[in-house]
């Protein structure tokens, strides 16, 4: 059961945000600032309570008090690289912070290589699709023909889109200009699909709020 006070606060805040549609107003700006404040406040509390306290402070306290394994005290060492970041605030000692930022960049670069290779290589393999409608186990079928046509369209879109981003070719040539135009068309189709989905998402936001206002706030006010 949801707390009625929470529902009322939610409804007033929702209507306050919607009031922006009429015109910008102080109530809307008040809600905007309050929301940002609440998010920052809760993030600090939860990060402390669910991450730093149980995973960093408690092992140290336990180790020092002798109630937990002594290795917990090693977490004190995390303060050394952590505090090095603050040297970024000093012009003279800035170089000290590069010791830790260099370490982070190195780790991030290593993981990024691994991430990209594991993500992109299977994509290249998956781009090689059968184009022959007669190559199926049962010879020519309409299903196989439609699959091949789809694969051909995929290949055309892939190659022409790649060509569109290939800047070291002169585009005056007719043999290059036509595929580049086709590539641009493919990109526009993809962007159109993205825009259509964006409209759907924005609509979902509105529907969810309307549902909240109607089912949680208005309907209990007028039962029956």
């Amino acid at each position: 059961m949801t707390d009625p006070l929470a529902v009322w606060v939610g409804a007033i805040v929702t209507l306050g945000v919607f009031s922006y549609l009429a015109r910008d107003n102080p109530f809307y700006r008040l809600i905007q600032q309050a929301a940002m404040g609440v998010v920052v406040g809760i993030t600090i509390v939860v990060t402390w309570k669910q991450v730093l306290q149980p995973m960093w402070l408690s092992p140290i306290q336990g180790a020092l008090a002798g109630t937990r394994d002594w290795t917990g005290a090693l977490w004190l060492l995390a303060l050394v690289p952590g505090s090095l970041w603050y040297f970024q605030l000093s012009k003279k000692w800035f170089w000290v912070s590069t010791l830790v930022s260099g370490l982070f960049v190195g780790v991030a670069a290593g993981l990024a290589f691994k991430f990209r290779i594991l993500l992109i290589l299977p994509q290249i393999g998956a781009s090689l699709k059968p184009l022959n409608p007669f190559a199926g186990p049962n010879g020519f079928t309409w299903e196989g023909f439609l699959d091949s046509s789809n694969n051909l369209l995929f290949l055309a879109a892939l190659l022409t889109t790649l060509l569109y981003f290939f800047f070291s070719v002169k585009t005056e040539n007719r043999w290059v200009r036509t595929p580049i135009r086709w590539g641009r068309l493919m990109i526009m189709v993809a962007l159109g699909a993205m825009f259509g989905n964006t409209v759907m998402t924005r609509m979902s936001y509105l529907i969810e709020r309307m549902q909240f206002l109607y089912e949680m706030w208005l309907r209990p006010l007028f039962p029956g």
């Binding site: 549609l21 809760i42 994509q123 998956a126 998402t201 609509m203 979902s204 509105l206 549902q211």
Partner: protein, 281 residues
């Protein structure tokens, strides 16, 4: 008629906002039965992946959404959890997104799990918020290698090692499927879970993010994906339990029809205004 259409071109957009709001409320007030389409390949893929998990198997759900994407992610989490409960599959929930995510996941899952007779700690666990400000790649990698080093207590503060279910979950190899539901799931899950360990990964994402992930469905790097409320509605049809996704996608159909109508009428208005202008000149 032409003059009337031309006047539409200069209509105050606030009237459109009001009309859209009223139109969206109708399907929420009156339940209108609508024809159901067949499930897309992406939705069917996730359904088949869950069906492939044996009863008693373990699925990991990363529920990293909050109020910002509740409008679509809530239904996507609900329908999959309901399917897991129907098949008596156990699950562990993490939240690598925002600090609010564990609470939203708890409120969504708790009633469904209770209705199915699931016992917390034995059949499902909410492991809580996993801090990932330094980047998802190291966190997902570490999570895959040793879950217990990343989360030492669950969302209630119970030590992870004391929960019966978590005694069986140490690495990603103990999990049959990973389902990531958030605004825009990170492709790091694909690289560091499917790419490295071969554990299937499925996504639940906002509609607007879906075009970014279709390519991973084609390459079979993602086993399935729920796209917005439409995906949730399709999934609910597959598990024969119409719920939130079906209701919201019904309202979305009204909204989309309104957008199409407004675009057509707006263009007609512009055409009529231009024509009237030419005649005036």
């Amino acid at each position: 008629m032409g003059r009337w259409l031309a006047r539409l071109h200069t209509l105050n957009p606030r009237w459109l906002y009001l009309a859209t709001a009223i139109l969206l409320i109708i399907p929420l007030v009156i339940l209108i039965p609508m024809p159901r389409g067949s499930a897309s390949r992406a939705t069917r893929g996730l359904y088949d992946a869950v069906e492939a998990v044996p009863a008693g198997g373990i699925v990991m759900i990363d529920s990293s959404w909050d109020q910002g994407s509740r409008s679509e992610n809530a239904a996507q989490l609900e329908c999959v959890v309901r399917h897991l409960c129907q098949r008596r599959i156990r699950f562990v929930v993490t939240s690598l997104g925002t600090v609010f995510s564990p609470e939203f996941a708890q409120k969504t899952i708790e009633p469904i799990a209770a209705q199915a007779g699931y016992v917390y700690g034995r059949d499902w666990v909410n492991a809580g918020y996993v801090q990932s400000a330094s980047g998802l790649a190291p966190v997902i990698s570490a999570l895959a290698l040793d879950f217990h080093t990343i989360r030492q207590a669950d969302v209630r503060g119970t030590p992870i090692g004391d929960l019966p279910l978590m005694k069986e979950v140490r690495t990603i190899r103990d999990v049959r499927l990973v389902y990531v539901v958030t605004y825009a799931p990170s492709p790091e899950w694909i690289s560091f879970i499917t790419g490295q360990f071969g554990t299937p990964v499925a996504f639940g994402c906002m509609s607007m993010m879906a075009p970014n992930y279709y390519t991973y469905i084609d390459s079979k790097q993602l086993c399935g994906m729920l796209i917005g409320n439409r995906g949730a509605a399709e999934y609910e049809a597959l598990i024969r339990h119409p719920a939130l996704g079906t209701r919201l996608s019904m309202a979305a159909s009204f909204g989309n029809a309104a957008v199409i109508l407004a675009a057509v009428v707006g263009n007609l208005g512009m055409w009529a205004a231009r024509r009237a202008g030419r005649r005036g000149a």
